[in-house]
């Protein structure tokens, strides 16, 4: 069952109608419905295109969070061979909100790391809805250091509303785990490509996102705070979330303009959730291209350039 977003309602109505017509044809009503279905499909396609070419920031938030959008493990499955998951932070815990391990990406051995939200209640609970605890960030640190030791490029797939805001997480040093994770990313002497596939939620995303290149899917978001949170704090009105989403400049398009990310990966019309395998393939191609640029550079050079890139952010007037 396709899940429609609010702004997709007109499309939903058309598509339901098409489904009804198909059912009628199957039930042998005898009328020629091909024409009618063709017309309706065209109309639906046009509406979808119209909606998706001018999504507002707040609509993008809902697309980025869509439950049927491909998740990190979907990307792993489609883009990697010989994926060998590795587990544990070696300090007493394993956090399934962060998944990762060794794999081959188009022939090249890599280390992959992702935040995984899960797809049904059981898997969502297992992955803690994609909200890592300190052990998740410490597992990431371990994997990043492993990649450094063997000269393997690092690919991260980010999709998280943020780090887990819980007692246990604070007790075990959430802040320190995030800080160290960012530090590890910045120091990794190997190509580091971070891709935001859904939601890039605050410090919990930065911890896996301080790479040579940061790519964003067309309708993904990256934000210092959820727009709902900004609305309650700055506007003192949770209903102002859409205003906040606009003001925060959290879309891939805004962030590219601000030179805070490096590349936007186009999504199929209707979003990655409608055509997951197309979206995943585009992400694979983009990563492949960027990786080819980075592979010739040696570790020291990569780290130096990565530092320059982050230090340059916000220094120039735009």
């Amino acid at each position: 069952m396709r899940q429609y977003l609010d702004f997709e309602k007109p499309v939903a109505e058309l598509e339901n109608k098409i489904a009804e017509l198909r059912q009628m044809a199957k039930d042998g009503e005898g009328i020629n419905i091909a024409d009618e279905i063709g017309k309706l499909s065209d109309k639906a396609e046009k509406q979808l295109r119209a909606a998706y070419t001018k999504l507002t920031p707040w609509q993008k938030v809902s697309v980025a969070r869509h439950a049927q959008r491909p998740r990190a493990l979907d990307y792993f499955k489609a883009l990697l061979e010989e994926y060998t998951p590795l587990a544990g932070d070696r300090l007493g815990h394993d956090d399934q909100a962060v998944v990762g391990g060794l794999a081959r990406f188009r022939g090249q051995a890599v280390v992959v790391i992702g935040t995984e939200r899960g797809f049904d209640m059981e898997s969502r609970l297992r992955h803690n809805f994609g909200m890592p605890k300190p052990e998740g960030y410490r597992k990431a640190q371990r994997l990043v250091e492993l990649a450094g030791r063997f000269g393997l490029p690092i690919l991260t797939f980010i999709d998280t509303s943020g780090a887990w805001p819980g007692i246990d997480a604070e007790q075990r040093g959430q802040a320190q785990a995030i800080a160290r994770s960012t530090d590890c990313c910045l120091r990794a002497p190997v190509p580091f490509i971070a891709t935001i596939i859904g939601e890039g939620g605050s410090g919990g995303a930065v911890a896996l996102g301080a790479g040579d290149r940061v790519l964003m899917l067309e309708h993904s978001i990256y934000s210092v705070i959820a727009p709902e949170g900004a609305a309650s704090i700055l506007w003192r009105d949770p209903k102002q979330a859409s205003t906040a989403a606009e003001a925060l400049k959290l879309t891939a398009q805004d962030l590219l303009k601000l030179k805070l990310i490096d590349r936007i990966i186009p999504e199929p019309i209707g979003g990655a959730q409608r055509f997951p395998s197309e979206a995943i393939a585009s992400v694979g191609d983009a990563i492949d291209e960027v990786l080819k640029e980075l592979l010739p550079l040696d570790g020291e050079n990569l780290v130096a350039k990565r530092r320059e890139k982050f230090l340059a952010m916000g220094r120039d007037a735009l």
């Binding site: 007692i167 604070e170 705070i225």
Partner: protein, 290 residues
Amino acid sequence: MSWLTEYVRPKIRGLLQREVPENLWTSCDSCSQMILIKDLERAQKVCPHCGHHGKANATERLDWTFDGGHYTRIELPKVPTDPLGFRDQKKYVDRLKDAKAKSHLDESLAVAHGKIGGRDAVVAVMAYEFMAGTMGTAMGEAFVAACRLAVLQKAALVIYTASGGARMQEGVLSLMQMPRTTIGVEMLKDAGLPYIVVLTNPTTGGVSASFAMLGDVQLAEPEALIAFTGPRVIQDTVREKLPEGFQRSEYLRDHGMVDMVVARSEMHETLARLIGLMTNSPATASEAAA
């Protein structure tokens, strides 16, 4: 680095003696007992009745930290303000203007250099009085400048943290101060220089999750709130009773995140000793006696 020489110009000399009238009283935020303001200032804003460490501003912290209260403030590097043209209930540029007027500071970080225990040190102090010590581009840039200054002077860096976290009005640019300040810390570590963090009340969000947790040594003032996620948000999420003393300095020490909780009266001596030990420089007479 020409831009460095440009902003290392002395700006304000330390030790601006403020005259406090003899007979003005205030009350402690914690125990509510009456205290002569003059006595409170002399005690570095620590309540003589209950030991509560009251709010201190950036200038006071600099005065207390350097030997004899002597230091040289540096001018902060200039960066574009209001990159997003942000406006919530109020324009960000107006919030900045108000903060500057209220705090007499340019940003939420003040940086100075001088001596601690006779050894070179750069001290950066986050000013909670400036937009709740939030971290935006200017603050991040000032922190990186402090790191560079320390590297240039082969000095230790001490930072007093106090922050509500990222400055939302700068969107992802504020978030990017996490990697940017982390790079500053890496420069210090690569240069083999001591980096000492003093966590003060409160230190939360993106600040706690970046340079504030990367110290070679982590100190904290008594009972400071130190958190990634603030207690109210956690309470709303987990709907459980929070443990006693949760997210306070002593709790972090007991959970392995802070080396020691240091009273304000002991801070200068502790910093001097740590820097002496970390740089393996000979003990001074007073340290040998202690």
